[in-house]
């Protein structure tokens, strides 16, 4: 069975019955790991509770934080404060300056863009080139395709089609996530892959965006956060007796 990952579940972390419902549904839908968005005021007790909840349903818990900085300076400050505390950092780019900084910073895992305003989607060839150099991935929330209707969905689909083409050309990994804040918006990974047909992603490509690409980010970051990590490419293999 495929190792499917949903890197973006966004229930309110302090509402445990809601978190429970969403994790249970994600487990029933075959996800092996889920990323749950934390806010800056989420306590360690709450994180521990969510971890226990996920282990109850045999789902791997991935801590994640979504940053929406107004300037590049604010982004850098947030990254300095949070990089060692969470496994995944996603940046919602609301300005071109932030988008460029996020794309070239190696501490950023996922870059995403507001889905309601097409003028604020800054993922062009230059952005993709920066992102491919820093191993950042483009994240697409599938729930937005379910919630939007009519003209807005048409515009979003057209932007996504263009962005996926640019990402493929520049070898930027694409990560598909649910982005669901309501259990009713949650679907199986295969169902989301069928939906990805709407913006021109092949089924195999979409499956990779739900399994291989997010899994690689999690493994890379867990390695970096472990005590064995020294520097990029340098790890402690064995410790001698003191």
């Amino acid at each position: 069975m495929k190792f499917y990952v949903d890197l973006h579940l966004c229930p309110q972390a302090n509402n445990f019955s809601y978190v429970n419902e969403m994790v249970e549904k994600a487990a029933a839908f075959g996800y092996k790991a889920v990323g749950i968005t934390m806010s800056s005021n989420t306590t360690t007790e709450e994180i521990q509770k969510i971890k226990e909840l996920c282990s109850k349903f045999e789902v791997d818990f991935v801590s994640r934080i979504d940053l929406a900085p107004k300037s590049a300076g604010e982004l850098l400050k947030n990254l300095r404060d949070l990089r060692r505390k969470v496994e995944i950092i996603a940046v919602e780019c609301t300005s071109k300056q932030v988008a460029r900084q996020a794309a070239k910073d190696r501490r950023v895992d996922l870059i995403k863009f507001p889905f309601v305003n097409p003028k604020k989607r800054f993922f062009d060839a230059a952005e993709a080139e920066l992102a491919s150099g820093s191993s950042a991935s483009l994240e697409i929330d599938m729930a937005s395709l379910l919630t939007l209707q009519g003209f807005r969905r048409v515009v979003l689909l057209s932007s996504l089609r263009r962005e996926v083409q640019i990402a493929n050309k520049a070898h930027v990994p694409v990560v598909l996530s649910s982005g669901a804040d309501d259990p009713i918006l949650l679907r199986t990974a295969d169902d989301y892959c069928s939906l990805a047909y709407l913006f021109g992603m092949e089924h195999s490509e979409a499956r990779q965006a739900f399994s291989k690409n997010p899994k690689a980010i999690i493994e890379r970051n867990r390695m970096k956060l472990s005590s064995e990590f020294v520097a990029p490419g340098v790890y402690v293999v064995r410790r001698g007796k003191s």
């Binding site: 839908f29 395709l145 379910l146 919630t147 209707q149 009519g150 009713i184 918006l185 949650l186 679907r187 199986t188 295969d190 169902d191 989301y192 069928s194 939906l195 047909y197 709407l198």
Partner: protein
């Protein structure tokens, strides 16, 4: 001589707080199909409801094999059935109704 028409049968689970009937599920998929692909796309799909199991909340749709991707996307895009929040989950796709029934027989 008419050519043999290739079809696909799709088993779909209807998940929601209310009990739905087959027509309501079919209407929801049909609306989604016309919204996403227009009347031309819907005409290519040749969508048809074969059966609906009220107990299992499971519907079986038939469509043209060429329009399978369109129909699957339309099914997944459904968020409401009969003005109630709902979610449709594709369980299995098969080339014959017999094999679909065999594959889905043991599913809850």
């Amino acid at each position: 001589m008419t050519r043999y028409v290739r079809r696909r049968y799709i088993a779909v689970k209807v998940d929601g707080n209310k009990e739905f009937d087959g027509k309501e599920a079919f209407d929801a998929v049909w609306n989604s199909l016309t919204k996403l692909f227009g009347e031309h796309g819907a005409s290519l799909a040749e969508l048809f409801l074969i059966e609906y199991n009220q107990e299992k909340r499971q519907a079986v749709f038939r469509c043209s094999h060429k329009a399978l991707d369109l129909v699957k996307a339309s099914i997944v895009a459904v968020t409401e059935v009969a003005n109630e929040k709902a979610c449709l989950q594709i369980i299995k796709v098969s080339g014959t109704l017999k094999s679909l029934r065999t594959k889905t027989a043991n599913l809850p």
